[in-house]
Symmetry: D2
Subunit: 345 residues, 4 copies
Amino acid sequence: VALSAVLYGAKDLRIENRPVPEPAAGEVEVRIGAGGICGTDLHYFNHGGFGVVRLREPLVLGHEIAGTITKVGDGVADVALGQRVAVNPSHPCNACKYCLKGLQNHCLDMRFYGSAMRFPHVQGAFQQKLVCHASQAIPIPDTLSLNEAACAEPLAVGLHGVRRAGDLVGKRVLITGAGPIGVLTAMAARRAGASEIIVTDIVDHPLSIARECGADQTINTAASPELLAPLVAGKDGVDVLFECSGSNRALVSALAVVRPHGIIVQIGLGGDFTFLMNLVVAKEIDLRGSFRFHEEFHAAVQFLATQRIVVQSLLTQTVPLSDAVRGFALANDRQRAIKVQIAFD
Amino acid sequence: VALSAVLYGAKDLRIENRPVPEPAAGEVEVRIGAGGICGTDLHYFNHGGFGVVRLREPLVLGHEIAGTITKVGDGVADVALGQRVAVNPSHPCNACKYCLKGLQNHCLDMRFYGSAMRFPHVQGAFQQKLVCHASQAIPIPDTLSLNEAACAEPLAVGLHGVRRAGDLVGKRVLITGAGPIGVLTAMAARRAGASEIIVTDIVDHPLSIARECGADQTINTAASPELLAPLVAGKDGVDVLFECSGSNRALVSALAVVRPHGIIVQIGLGGDFTFLMNLVVAKEIDLRGSFRFHEEFHAAVQFLATQRIVVQSLLTQTVPLSDAVRGFALANDRQRAIKVQIAFD
Amino acid sequence: VALSAVLYGAKDLRIENRPVPEPAAGEVEVRIGAGGICGTDLHYFNHGGFGVVRLREPLVLGHEIAGTITKVGDGVADVALGQRVAVNPSHPCNACKYCLKGLQNHCLDMRFYGSAMRFPHVQGAFQQKLVCHASQAIPIPDTLSLNEAACAEPLAVGLHGVRRAGDLVGKRVLITGAGPIGVLTAMAARRAGASEIIVTDIVDHPLSIARECGADQTINTAASPELLAPLVAGKDGVDVLFECSGSNRALVSALAVVRPHGIIVQIGLGGDFTFLMNLVVAKEIDLRGSFRFHEEFHAAVQFLATQRIVVQSLLTQTVPLSDAVRGFALANDRQRAIKVQIAFD
Amino acid sequence: VALSAVLYGAKDLRIENRPVPEPAAGEVEVRIGAGGICGTDLHYFNHGGFGVVRLREPLVLGHEIAGTITKVGDGVADVALGQRVAVNPSHPCNACKYCLKGLQNHCLDMRFYGSAMRFPHVQGAFQQKLVCHASQAIPIPDTLSLNEAACAEPLAVGLHGVRRAGDLVGKRVLITGAGPIGVLTAMAARRAGASEIIVTDIVDHPLSIARECGADQTINTAASPELLAPLVAGKDGVDVLFECSGSNRALVSALAVVRPHGIIVQIGLGGDFTFLMNLVVAKEIDLRGSFRFHEEFHAAVQFLATQRIVVQSLLTQTVPLSDAVRGFALANDRQRAIKVQIAFD
């Protein structure tokens, strides 16, 4: 058995022992060291689901994790006990028509940790011990902390968004929303060659983190909405917008500053959005949804391992597993927290 | 002087003589034979403008025209008097930063016939005699009627939309809106290799024209909305949606049947659109605006000239210039008309 | 047992009985009606292999086939006895890293009918009865002859080449080599929207077929090499070249008429090619290899079934199975034959 | 008058005074501070031309330059005397059909400094004072030396190559040729997100510079050709090859290690290349020429200005203008020099 963070309903998160199976052939057991609280985890915690997806049985949360290999199943070659790894929470079937098109993030039989989208739910990874397929455990070097390695997952989301945008070399980029995904997308965009990066939010604290992480300019659009307009004046607007807030208002105000033939990558999840479609038509904007990631997980680990992307400034708080509830409360407070992680040992 | 169709305000269209200049160097005079009434013309006629664009001075309408060259200015080589031509109503500056990127349809100094977007307005082409730049007059063969040739402009809009969609070879295509643009886009999509084409509308008559023009299936979504669902069941949804209606409702119902990683090309102009953005994100849809055309005008003429695209079924009525007001009334009646044209001689 | 065309060595083709297994679960038995002789078959027949690929055991030739379903294995739904089908000779593993990227034509464990690339060889389909996986048997309508249906495979090769070229709408296309692949690529390019298609060869007879099949212009570059130059003069060269001859000389002469930023799709297989690389650099040409096909097989069947591509002009001769050796001799004679097929019943 | 480096024939470079015109409207005068010797300059110096392009009149060499604005013509706004600038040697007509497609590097009336391709030749920029169009002079910050700024031009070549390659995020890149273009392309590829970069050459010294500039691995393929093979074994080959040597042998050996569906960007100029075309076909490789640059010049200046690309390690020697001949001799010596620059003051 191992202690896990199990959600029984909105605000009802319990730390309890759950059985841990032996790793089957092709699997490994990982002693989890660090786990980041994602916006989705938070949504489950606050509301017991989102949209039509509702908790129908207790659900272990968590899918941003890293740890150390403690057991190795049959047939797993080249994996040493004690190897430190980032764990990829995505487990596509590799047999459906989307997997066979290379679109594994649209797998018709996807198992993604900590999700209530299917029933029985796919249990998450906020566990002291996790058994996963060996291919999900990506080795990291000693120079990388488990806390940083646990950022591989949200960084992969940012990298996937960046690849959805196409060529960023020398481009001017706007990012709406300075949460973890927004800031990691900014770092991914820089890594992909963006020349100028502007980040907006309606809260100051995350914007200060965005600046620390390399944003050239930040704008608090609640306090100073008028600072957006100069992005168009005299210049050309922005080439690419990454909408990471899930806020309709953010999209609407950003639409005005995207240049003709510009690109919008919508990463943030929200509900109904309303905007003037004529702007999309007349400017021939490309609005592209971006959902999770696939091969970008490996690239994320590699960028972290080589320190070509450095995420320490994002890691604002770590709480012990016994204090997980307090961790979720912290994660709700954008004035103080960007990324809250749980320590499992 | 020559008779022109001049709009003085909503429903106030007058046929009156206006002066015709001599063709300057590089220009030609065209005796217009046929002119199609476009949705934009109709909007000006019905409402005296659209959105924030309002009539501020009398405006000659019209930009879908074909005719015969009657005079040739200095320095125009290789153009014979009597040559029949389709006239391209688009006249970009070829000097601004968008023209120098090959995005002439986003020209910052565009002159497009019959538009009140700038002041003084750019006068239109519903004139018995039109003086234009020689490069705007594209020769057509004797086998092509002027009425068909006057369809080059809306066909170019469809071809541009098709090119915005990317590869259509073997693809399954849905088109919402069976107006002239919808039907011409269907023909353009077929020409570009689409395997299966479904067209929807809320009126039966244009759907019957769409079938005549090669649609594999048509659905009246007002009468039988349930016929959309089977497009997904057991199959994969549609690969590409061309939204040609400008109707929010059409987009919303079509969003449900676009497959993951599918493409939506928004051609229809409308106002505020509301839809569930999560669908765009989770399915990673590309929603691409498509606006007018540029080099596609030449391709449109070529497809018409070689009869690789045949538009006769669309040409539902022709009225003499003196009856233009009746023509506009007819064009408002989707139960009877698809494309109403004006005869100028 | 069923009669098959088995190659024992160069020029040693024998018609002999071979055992036919019962269809296993998921498989069907097809009574082959028509089989086309491909350039690869011919190469095996003439030389006992090509390049380093040599015959190491007797090999049933053939991979362009169509027939009628005569037995159905367990678990095969929706397939009726008597259903006429085109058979896809490509059988990727759908499990290797290339299959999982949607690049099945680069499958690391590909089984493609009639190939000596692996050992034991993958036996071909020139058999009176063939057992294959049900998913390889694509239904065709009664209106399509088995002879036409057997062209789905080489048409798929052409369609794949066309998709490698990207957007062809309104484009000017040059095709070097008027063999079956060249002519089918011409038809595929037309279907994908090409405006102007020029085909070259060094023999007149296939060029006359190319014209019948819709080429706008044909050039015998052996007799009239000077006819290539005007493609550049005053115009712009060609947008896209499909090199279907596998001839170095053809590529070299065509390179001169491809416009800056033009595209070359190399479909023809040849040996060492020599050309002035500076032309590729200074004109920024894209030279793209095109190999076999994957999903295009379905599109090919659909285009044939709907008569949007009509291949009858290509089918120059059919010989009975007992006369297969004569068929191969005929297929060697470009003055008379384009596509020679074998009748199996 | 100002001193210039004028080539009269192979090995006949003279430093002599030439008249300097007053800047016309829209022009500026720049006092050149630093000028890099490019491979093209060297080719003119060594051979008096290349291929069919021959010196037909004395030619001022040079097109990699930076300096300080000393005079401003009429109608030039926002430019201060004393402003330090990188000078873009590319001056397209912005009116021909390629410019109007956004392909200015294929301008039909291009004026590119120091080129004998047209007659009269376009004189180069190795002059103490240069008059150019104001739009060619791009401001640089005080923190950037003129020597570094003079690398904007070859860096732009690398950035253009990188953009020709498409998405590099997380990709494995091979670069053949560790000359200035090879090393700058390596840095550009890193900036664009490449995860792993391997550089090959046949001389050790430039490879050591490549390592200093961030290459993950370097291979001397003359000394250790066997080190290329492991790039394929067990792995997947390389995703993208930038061929920067212009050597046929380099391309041939690299072809073997490019993965299926991989991309080759050919930047290096050479003569006739011979290779096995079947490899390009069977692996469906994209071989793309890359020629000069256009908008990448601005991006290059920006990357240098923000120190996101740092080129100091490349700048191996600087000689005074009076010693230019010695500078050219040095530039010929790959054991000692990567980029030799001339100081003009």
